[in-house]
């Protein structure tokens, strides 16, 4: 599973990386896995939105190992 992160999340993770997708079935499990990589990201991850194929997803969305998941920190445009 490919992961892309933006903005402040790049202070915690590489902009693009891969995780073992077979261990991740939903966004809660993805967050848990990411926290094993860097537990300092807990606060910002709790505020992030997740997207697949340019659409936002919630925890009910079933992820598969070939998905590219975009993790979107809170907006700060303007």
């Amino acid at each position: 599973m490919k992961i892309h992160v933006y903005a402040a999340l790049k202070d915690y993770f590489q902009p693009e990386f891969e995780v073992r997708g077979e261990l991740v079935r939903n966004t809660d499990e993805l967050k848990t896995l990411l926290l094993t990589l860097n537990d300092k990201a807990a606060e910002i991850l709790s505020a992030c939105r997740f997207a697949v194929e340019e659409g936002f997803i919630d925890n009910a969305f079933k992820l598969n190992e070939y998905d590219t998941v975009v993790i979107i920190p809170p907006s700060s445009g303007g």
Partner: protein, 170 residues
């Protein structure tokens, strides 16, 4: 999936036959965008320009760097503009946001609305900029004069609403 980062080349202004691009990595041509807003049925045109201040929370700002998920931001801004056009019967609704480096005093975002009367143009303009600031996947990094930097001023509505998809507009 289009994962184009903010470094892609994005034109600042389109011609009047097509909607201006929602994101630009060149300085925003405010006059050019305004020239697209005039409409014979519009008695009011409102232009909001969000500009880069030279200070943030007491620290001197050198410049801002904006990053975006280009495809999602453009799609969301298009939806926001379409919703505003419908809700306020606008003749024109334009929004363009910068990506990349924006120096102090320069324009980071422009929203232009045109309607028959001013109340609709003002209300719609506020609606558009509020939603862009809270919802569009665009982020600013403050680069301070002392050489430090900080991703900042994030939407934190979720701390009140309990839902990262629900926002409180001013």
């Amino acid at each position: 999936m289009n994962m184009t980062p903010s470094s892609s080349s994005l034109p600042a202004v389109a011609d009047s036959s097509v909607a201006p691009p929602a994101l630009s990595d060149e300085p925003i041509d405010m006059v050019g965008l305004l020239s697209l807003a005039h409409h014979p049925g519009a008695g009011a045109v409102v232009l909001f320009s969000g500009e880069v201040r030279d200070s943030n929370r007491g620290q001197a700002v050198a410049f801002l760097e904006y990053e975006a998920h280009t495809a999602m931001a453009a799609s969301m801004i298009a939806e926001i503009l379409a919703t505003a056009r419908e809700r306020w019967s606008l003749h024109t609704a334009i929004a363009q946001h910068r990506v990349g480096r924006v120096d102090t005093g320069d324009t980071a975002v422009v929203v232009i609305t045109a309607s028959a009367h001013r109340s609709e143009a003002y209300a719609a303009n506020k609606y558009i900029i509020d939603r862009i600031k809270h919802e569009a996947p665009i982020w600013k990094c403050e680069h301070y004069a002392d050489g430090t930097k900080e991703w900042g001023n994030n939407c934190n509505c979720h701390t009140v609403t309990g839902d990262i998809h629900k926002h409180i507009y001013e």
